[in-house]
């Protein structure tokens, strides 16, 4: 088995924003391995966005406050690096893509970040071609932002950060403005990036069912504390999940219910298709 490298590490980390003494993150200990696909959930206001801001350095560089403990990204202390420098390691896609497309055309917007880090023209050319292709947005290249749909805008937002070749891609509620179908396509696209380029991914998403087949890790945050953290298959089985505002997908809830009723399956099924296959096998077996 290949050795796993830790790419993000929180050590005894706590944070509160300046101007309020409420601890938003409390004694966080967390490590995320390279290539992980992490689903981060929790009720709104529990500190998910705050946690993410600590990874790309917006905290403490843009938002100051009481900062205790350490956050290490790719072997370096976040507090010693500027957000700018971290931008080439951590790509951050925000909830509203409208507010992260600055330029008048898709191409110019992708180039914006690359110009900022001072790449030469040839490198910009090749990254531009690569990212347009990787995200399947070649046809949008010269379009202005107001001609794009929400789903397309979200892709362009990813293109802008992906072109910087980060090792980590963070997405904070990226599908909340998308319709279910576009949201699913979007999640599959992210999975593709994770698989193809070994990108480490952290997604905050309320529609958990979109990610049960995609993410391999799941972290549940509540009131600034990590409640569950581990393999998605293990965490998602937990019966107390709904106490933390997590929308447990019906297949999972059903299996938990059946378990209470004494019906034990040898495996835990994450999607309806696999579960119904198993039920069918059982029923036929019983007959």
């Amino acid at each position: 088995m290949e050795t796993l490298t830790e790419i993000i590490k929180f050590i005894n980390f706590s944070f509160s924003y300046s101007g309020s003494n409420a601890l938003i993150l409390k004694n966080i200990n967390l490590s995320i391995e390279e290539g992980d696909f992490v689903l981060l959930v929790g009720p709104s206001g529990c500190g998910k966005s705050t946690l993410l801001r600590c990874i790309n350095g917006l905290i403490p560089h843009l938002y100051s406050g009481v900062y205790e403990g350490e956050v290490i990204v790719d072997g370096e202390l976040v507090k010693n690096k500027s957000v700018n420098e971290l931008a080439t390691k951590v790509g951050f896609v925000f909830q509203n893509p409208e507010n992260q497309i600055f330029m008048f055309s898709v191409e110019k917007d992708i180039v914006f970040g690359l110009e900022n880090i001072g790449l030469d023209r040839n490198e910009i050319d090749s990254r531009l071609e690569w990212v347009l292709h990787a995200l399947g947005i070649e046809h949008l290249r010269y379009k202005p932002p107001y001609e794009l749909s929400d789903g397309q805008k979200q892709r362009v937002a990813i293109a802008g950060v992906l072109a910087m070749k980060p090792k980590i891609l963070i997405l904070d509620e990226p599908t909340s403005l998308l319709d279910p179908r576009t949201a699913l396509e979007f999640i599959l696209l992210i999975k593709e990036l994770n698989r193809k380029f070994g990108l480490t991914i952290i997604v905050v998403e309320h529609r958990i069912d979109l990610l049960t087949n995609v993410a391999n890790r799941m972290i549940v945050l509540d009131k600034g504390e990590i409640i569950f953290n581990g393999c998605l298959k293990e965490v998602i089985k937990n019966k107390n999940l709904n106490l933390y505002g997590v929308n447990v997908p019906p297949v999972i809830a059903l299996q938990n219910y059946l378990k209470d009723e004494g019906l034990i399956f040898n495996e835990f099924y994450l999607n309806v298709k696999d579960f119904s296959k198993e039920i069918k096998r059982r029923l036929i077996g019983i007959d």
Partner: protein
């Protein structure tokens, strides 16, 4: 609200003029602007305005150019009336009014035929500080977004029973408060998100920012530039040598 800016706002179109290098369009606009500023006879203005309208026809923006002019007609009439009232003669008042029209319409040539994108390129080619260019670009980029926010807020406040077009002028101004407050709050939130996104895209990362986009004159740009220069010289010579 929208019609107000309509005359001056760029719309994607194709024409011989549109396809020119934006610096050439700027120079044409600027030459006509300067000539209008320094012209002082009705004859000169007839030539200048004919040239401007000819450009309007060539670039297929004549109708919107005229719209801009009609929009500024109130000012023209005011200028005309004030000049007459303070005792200038009729000819002089007409000339001042014509000059105003020529200035407005000549500058509209550039804005009607160049996209904000091209304006960005022109500013880059002038080596203006990038902070300034970025401020301009984002301002233009987000004007329609914020206008849309405003429209949505007005709609939602209306659906809650707010009657904006009711009462006298002071009442009407007061009616806009429930629109303005959420709009300001929303814009502040937006600007915070923009700041986060800018940082995350390495804005201000290094002193030596690459300039990926540069403008290059094509053959037709050189040709039009020469033509423009010739016509300007011809115009000046004609006026001053022959005292037309």
């Amino acid at each position: 609200m929208f019609w107000l800016a309509e005359g001056l706002v760029y719309r994607r179109q194709e024409s011989i003029i549109h396809s020119l290098d934006p610096r050439v369009k700027l120079i044409i606009s600027l030459s006509l602007f300067l000539l209008s500023l320094f012209s002082s006879t009705i004859f000169e203005f007839i030539i200048l305005l004919s040239a401007i309208f000819l450009l309007g026809v060539l670039s297929k923006v004549l109708r919107r150019m005229i719209k801009t002019i009609t929009f500024s007609l109130t000012f023209v009439i005011m200028i005309f009336a004030i000049n007459l009232l303070v005792g200038y003669d009729l000819i002089f008042s007409i000339i001042i009014s014509l000059r105003f029209i020529a200035i407005i319409s000549s500058s509209s040539i550039f804005f009607l035929t160049s996209s904000p994108d091209e304006l960005d390129l022109v500013m880059r080619s002038l080596h203006l500080p990038y902070d300034l260019i970025f401020a301009f670009v984002t301002a233009v980029r987000f004007v329609p977004v914020i206008l849309l926010d405003a429209v949505q807020i007005i709609d939602s406040q209306r659906s809650r029973g707010l009657e904006i077009e009711k009462g006298n002028i002071f009442k009407r101004i007061r009616n806009y408060i429930p629109v303005l407050i959420p709009l300001i709050v929303q814009s502040i939130i937006r600007s915070e998100e923009l700041a986060e996104a800018m940082e995350s895209r390495a804005y201000g990362f290094s002193k030596k920012r690459t300039s990926y986009y540069t403008l290059h004159f094509k053959r037709k740009d050189y040709f039009v530039l020469c033509l423009n220069l010739t016509l300007v010289v011809l115009f000046i010579l004609l006026i001053h040598l022959f005292h037309l």
